[in-house]
Every structure is written in structure tokens, then in C-alpha cells.
């Protein structure tokens, strides 16, 4: 049976189409979810895509956290549903307290848009088990508020528990503490990543096919997961 991966569209989402396409290329069935509908329609995993949900008013992700769909996503994520938040989705996951810390304005104040090398640090998560530990991948990064911050105790805990999922290599594009590009929750089912793996799934439109690994990982995870 084909896995069904939900992709949420918030008002202002930009990358929901690309995320759905990445899901399809990875071999799953993308299911479009709407921010105002709390029903997850029986999906096996959820992607919160990049963009500017609710215009990024107040703070990035602050208003999206209270979208009807998020109440269900938060509950399901606490129960083990795999959830990947990309860029704005990462910001939403932090605002929803599914992940610790916060994303702030890039330290140099510039929007950064470039192809970025990452080192995959944690391969035990639902979204990175297709990678080798230490594997270097190339995916686009594009954000204005991608600087990951948390208090030192939280950062130490993330490092100590192996929850830093990916780090920037070859230059930190936004000033993120400890070069953090992606983190996971304690259970490893929720991952937030600032760069965009969904833009690196086809030779025509991406700098590599490295991003596909995130989406094939969740399929592998779902096959292994108890029904």
C-alpha cells in the first residue's frame, strides 16, 4: 500500500506544491491538507512546507501555530506521527513547542538564497534514516529568518542527545547557533530543517537529488513502523 503523506497549505505557503511533488517523486501519495481543516484525512506523515504563513505577521509561524490543522498535527506528532517542517514549517514547529528554541532574523539581515552543503549528523530520525552518518548533501537554502537560537542548556541537551540533525558546512548562511540547520524532537519523529530538501529532488530544477533522501526516509520509517 502506498504511504500517504499530507502537505499542509497555510495562507501564504509557497513551497507546498514542491513538497507534494517531492513526496510523489519519492514514491508516496501526496495528500493536500488545508490549514482550516483539522482533519488529517488518515495520512501517515505530514510536511509543513516553506513560505510565509499568515504573512509571517507577529513572528514567523506564530499565527500558523493556532491554525485548526495544527491542533491535530501537534496531538498526532506527540503520538508519533512523522512531521517534517521545512523553513517556515520549522518556525511553526518551534512556535508550536514541538521543537525547542526559535528562529530569528538572519544575523547579517540579508535574505540568503544559495545552494548549501549540509552534514547529516543524525540518521536515527523518521526523516533521515536513508542517509549515512556524516554524509554531506547539497540542498538550497532560502530564508530571512533562519538563525536558530536556544539557551545554552537546550543547545547542550540537543547535542548530548544527538538531536542536531544537520549542520551547515562551508559557511553559515544565517548565523545559526552551532551551525544548526536541522533538529529533531526526543522521539525522532518530528524534524525541523531550515534549508529546502524539496527543491533538490530533480536534476532539472535542483542542484542535486540529495533532498529526496528526506522523503524516502519517511517511507522507510513507515514500513518499519508498527501499524
Amino acid at each position: 500500500m502506498t504511504a500517504r503523506v499530507g502537505v499542509v497549505t497555510f495562507p501564504g505557503s509557497l513551497d507546498d506544491g514542491d513538497a507534494a511533488r517531492a513526496v510523489r517523486i519519492a514514491g508516496a501519495e501526496p495528500v493536500r491538507l488545508w490549514h482550516g481543516d483539522p482533519d488529517l484525512h488518515g495520512v501517515d506523515a505530514v510536511v509543513l512546507p516553506g513560505g510565509f504563513s499568515y504573512g509571517d505577521y507577529l513572528r514567523c509561524g506564530a499565527i500558523a501555530r493556532f491554525a485548526p490543522v495544527m491542533e491535530t498535527v501537534v496531538e498526532a506528532a506527540r503520538g508519533g506521527l512523522p512531521v517534517l517542517g521545512i523553513c517556515n514549517g520549522f518556525q511553526i514547529l518551534c512556535e508550536a513547542h514541538l521543537l525547542p528554541g526559535a528562529l530569528t532574523r538572519n544575523q547579517h539581515l540579508h535574505f540568503r538564497n544559495r545552494d548549501q552543503v549540509l552534514r547529516i549528523e543524525a540518521t536515527g530520525t523518521a526523516w533521515t534514516n536513508a542517509f549515512q552518518p556524516g554524509q554531506e548533501v547539497l540542498v538550497p537554502v532560502k530564508n530571512g529568518e533562519g538563525c536558530y537560537v536556544a539557551d545554552p542548556a537546550t543547545l547542550d541537551r540537543l547535542e548530548g542527545e544527538g538531536r542536531v540533525v544537520a549542520r551547515y558546512l562551508g559557511g553559515n548562511p544565517n548565523g545559526s547557533q552551532r551551525d544548526i540547520a536541522a533538529i529533531t524532537n526526543e522521539a525522532g519523529n518530528v524534524v525541523g530543517i531550515m534549508p529546502h530538501p524539496e527543491h533538490a529532488v530533480e536534476a532539472l530544477t535542483g542542484p542535486s537529488l540529495d533532498g529526496l533522501g528526506f522523503f524516502t526516509s519517511v517511507l522507510k520509517h513507515l514500513v518499519g513502523a508498527p501499524a
Binding site: 507577529l58 518551534c94 512556535e95 526559535a102 530569528t104 539581515l109 537560537v149 536556544a150 539557551d151 548565523g175
Partner: protein, 86 residues
């Protein structure tokens, strides 16, 4: 109409690049005696009834501020005290 003013500021230990950019521009105005500038956000809430500080505090804690990176204060102002230039 009395209303509740919520002031949200980045915590002191969080870098405020917006404030820094403004601070760096001040010498171009001929201002050289400013050590730092920090920029926050002011939100004014009008309740339909009496201003409710506790409710405002809850709103601020859950939505208006992100306690991970921001501090906030809440206070009631009347038209006479609200942001009048002194």
C-alpha cells in the same frame, strides 16, 4: 477608551540585528553618543468591557511574545496617558 498596551522586546542576550543596523546608522546623523539601540513591538488591545490585565498577560504569553526569545510587559493606559508626547 482605556486599553492594554503590551510591549514585546527581544531578550537582552538575543542579538537584535535590526537595532544594531539602526545604531550603526546614527553616526551618519551626527549622533555619536549612543551605545546601543534595541527595537521591540508595541501592541494595543481594546477589550469590549473593562481592560483585563490577566487576559492580556495570557494573550501575550501565548501569542504576542515568544518567551524563548522575547520578554513582555503589560499595562493599562487611558487616552490621557497613552503615548502622549511629553
Amino acid at each position: 477608551m482605556p486599553r492594554v498596551v503590551v510591549d514585546v522586546m527581544l531578550k537582552p542576550e538575543i542579538l537584535d540585528p535590526q537595532g544594531q543596523a539602526v545604531a550603526n546608522a546614527l553616526p551618519r546623523l551626527g549622533v555619536s553618543d549612543v551605545a546601543s539601540v534595541r527595537i521591540g513591538r508595541r501592541i494595543e488591545i481594546e477589550f469590549t468591557g473593562e481592560p483585563d490585565l490577566d487576559r492580556a498577560r495570557e494573550i501575550a504569553d501565548k501569542l504576542l511574545a515568544n518567551p524563548v526569545i522575547e520578554d513582555f510587559t503589560v499595562r493599562v493606559v487611558t487616552d490621557e496617558t497613552a503615548g502622549a508626547p511629553s
